[in-house]
């Protein structure tokens, strides 16, 4: 690394800010000013501290923080051939790992359709998503669909929070505020103040089937879980086929492609096949005490093709049902006209399910709003 002294004039800092902006750092005029002020007040320092100074002034999240050093190197190491404002071409292979953000908070655009997710159906299908790169799903309009779904999910969550507030308006008299308001009137409580009930926030638990038969849907349903987790505060997500894996933390990352990459790693070494009952039993044992309460809405996303014992499934569902407020089963197959929930697993499960609804397209997922 050439240790050339970078040019620290205000002009070159402005130029660097513009370069950083083209590379995906969100640098506004305020940050630029802050950066210039910072370098001026820190005085004459070595290159390292100069880097730290610009970094603390210009970044504002871990993602930007991690990206910064590359940008700094790219800009100041090529002092011969510094990119002019706006031209911002990333150094090959160095910063191209991260595309500039198209806009804030969008699902990563996954327009490139290079490989196809292999569609395998049947509960006996082996090795479902072992190391399969999720972001290579080859539907041309997937990106567009995602944009739309993101918007709709977001609107849905906004509506939900408003609904709560209106429902919980006035409830009982707030003595403290009533007294407070009576002071200008000599202590007579003429105007009563009311106290709304604290909005009850539900906890969502998402239990997503990724066995072979669910393949056409599961990738999209993971996105649904991602969206829910983004807009609802307390969501815990789990994947299952024969095992249960918690993916709450993976979905909590900001970018969907990051999340999907994390998922494909976490799910490594899985074998296909569905054992809903056993998975649910695992879940109840490991997480049940922590996550299930009368405040919880439990959402199962599965087609109900079960290779385990239906008695087991029924018993576990019963156990879960007793502890949660609502048990919702979303079945993608319910979208098919000729489908009847008569498989052994499904018919064993139905008595314990509060809401049995389809989940084969965006519309059906959005209809879920009514039950949350």
């Amino acid at each position: 690394m050439p240790q050339e002294e970078p040019d620290r004039s205000a002009a070159s800092i402005i130029e660097f800010c513009q370069f950083a902006r083209t590379q995906g750092l969100f640098v506004g005029i305020h940050q630029t000013i802050a950066a210039i002020e910072a370098t001026q007040s820190i005085g004459d320092v070595d290159r390292q501290v100069f880097t730290f100074t610009l970094r603390t002034a210009l970044t504002s999240s871990k993602e930007e923080w991690d990206l910064f050093d590359q940008l700094f190197e790219a800009f100041w190491d090529r002092s011969q051939r510094r990119p002019g404002p706006g031209s911002g071409e990333p150094k090959e292979g160095k910063i191209s790992t991260r595309r500039p953000k198209a806009g804030p908070r969008t699902f990563g655009s996954l327009s490139s359709a290079e490989g196809e997710g292999k569609a395998v159906t049947g509960a006996s299908a082996q090795q479902r998503i072992q190391k399969m790169d999720f972001s290579n799903i080859g539907h041309n309009d997937l990106a567009a669909l995602e944009q739309v779904s993101l918007r709709l999910f977001r609107r849905m969550s906004l509506r939900l929070s408003r609904k709560r507030k209106i429902r919980n308006l006035a409830d009982r008299v707030d003595v403290r505020r009533t007294i407070r308001q009576s002071i200008p009137r000599g202590g007579d409580p003429i105007v009563l103040a009311f106290q709304g009930r604290k909005p009850q926030k539900h906890r969502l638990v998402i239990f997503l089937d990724i066995s072979g038969s669910m393949n056409p849907y599961s990738l999209f349903l993971v996105r649904f879980a991602f969206a829910l987790q983004k807009y609802f505060k307390r969501v815990d997500s789990f994947l299952f086929s024969t095992d249960v894996v918690e993916i709450t933390d993976v979905l909590r990352t900001r970018d969907l492609p990051d999340a999907l990459r994390g998922l494909s790693q976490r799910a490594a070494g899985w074998a296909g096949g569905t054992k809903i009952g056993e998975s649910l039993s695992d879940f109840n044992r490991q997480y049940g005490r922590k996550l299930l309460s009368t405040n919880t809405i439990f959402i199962i996303l599965s087609d109900g093709w079960d290779t385990g014992e239906p008695e087991m499934l029924a018993a576990q569902l019963h156990r879960t049902r007793r502890r949660v407020q609502k048990l919702i089963w979303l079945n993608p197959l319910l979208g098919l006209k000729e489908y009847k929930p008569i498989t052994r697993g499904m018919s064993a499960a139905l008595p314990y399910v509060d809401v049995f609804a389809p989940a084969h397209n965006l519309e059906s997922l959005l209809a879920l709003e009514r039950f949350l």
Partner: protein, 300 residues
């Protein structure tokens, strides 16, 4: 406090290295990156947002800064549902009621009575207002775990951080005499609003390197034996690679070393690890994971 020998006036903090030394005298081992940020906070008086995993000394930065400058530390712990009456100010209703009763028989005009009961003595200043009312010197205002508060509160904070004034409808606007040093910490349980982030200097605290962590252990636990500190640090650093739900922070390292010392042991062996495992992992799942990956392997 300002008489303590370790405290410096803010104009005495001449450069980044002075600051590193001053922090180290107070038992806080820091690196140049963090020191640069803190130095700029002192110089530019901009709010400072520190993010990072739990147990890496985010809160400590504010405490040490206050100790170094010899000023007051005012702390606001955020939580879901934090509202203005517990963060900014509230009227002391009981006292107001009593005052009304006492005034009942007097001949004062209503306006005068009202003015009296909305005076300063009836105002309960909560942390944010306190930080603005400070008379003698700029305090350090620590807004801890801002990610736990809801977005409405964040918006309110935005207003405060740009003007450093608070308006109380009954009294008028109170402007800060000394602009506080504001430090916000976040564990990243949710994204903060862009507007707030843009206003702050930013620092991401990562897990320390082996050398830095050793230095921290020695600074915080002066009695620790050389070999033991090495073993504990190596063990915790290895545990961090395990993809645990809650990777151990520096706090856990210190806890672990301290409990081994309290048990009268001088070495970290498998049995000692078993006995002090609760210091490092904080959930059943993590403990199981740690055991499954082989404690012996982690120790070597």
């Amino acid at each position: 406090m300002s008489t303590s020998p370790t405290s410096l006036q803010n104009n005495q903090v001449k450069d980044v290295d002075t600051l590193i030394e001053a922090f180290e005298r107070l038992g806080y081992v820091t690196d140049r990156a963090l020191a640069t940020s803190v130095y700029l906070v002192i110089r530019l008086r901009k709010p400072f947002l520190i993010e990072g995993h739990a147990g890496l000394g985010k809160t400590e930065v504010a405490k040490v800064l206050a100790a170094m400058l010899g000023t007051r530390l005012i702390r606001l712990q955020c939580y879901e549902g934090l509202d203005v009456s517990s963060a900014v100010y509230e009227w002391n209703y009981q006292k107001q009621l009593l005052a009304i009763k006492i005034q009942e028989k007097t001949q004062q005009a209503v306006e005068e009575k009202e003015k009296h009961i909305f005076g300063k003595e009836f105002l309960l200043a909560r942390p944010l207002l306190q930080s603005i009312l400070e008379e003698s010197a700029s305090p350090v205002l620590l807004i801890d775990e801002i990610d736990r508060a809801d977005e409405a509160f964040e918006a309110f904070l935005l207003e405060l951080l740009s003007d450093f004034q608070i308006s109380v409808p009954e009294m008028g606007t109170i402007k800060a005499k000394h602009i506080p040093y504001v430090i916000l910490t976040s564990n990243r349980t949710r994204e903060l609003s862009d507007a707030l982030k843009r206003r702050c200097l930013y620092h991401w605290i990562d897990y320390p390197s082996v050398e830095k962590e050793l230095k921290i252990v020695r600074a915080r636990l002066p009695g620790v034996e050389e070999e033991l500190s090495r073993q504990v640090v190596r063990f915790v650093q290895a545990a961090r690679q395990l993809d645990l739900a809650k990777p151990p922070g520096v706090t856990e390292t210190l806890d672990c070393a301290l409990s081994v010392m309290s048990l009268g042991k001088h070495k970290l062996d498998i049995q000692t690890v078993e006995e002090t495992l609760g210091c490092v992992t904080k959930s059943m799942e993590d403990t199981a994971k740690l055991r499954a990956s082989g404690i012996e392997r982690l120790l070597s």
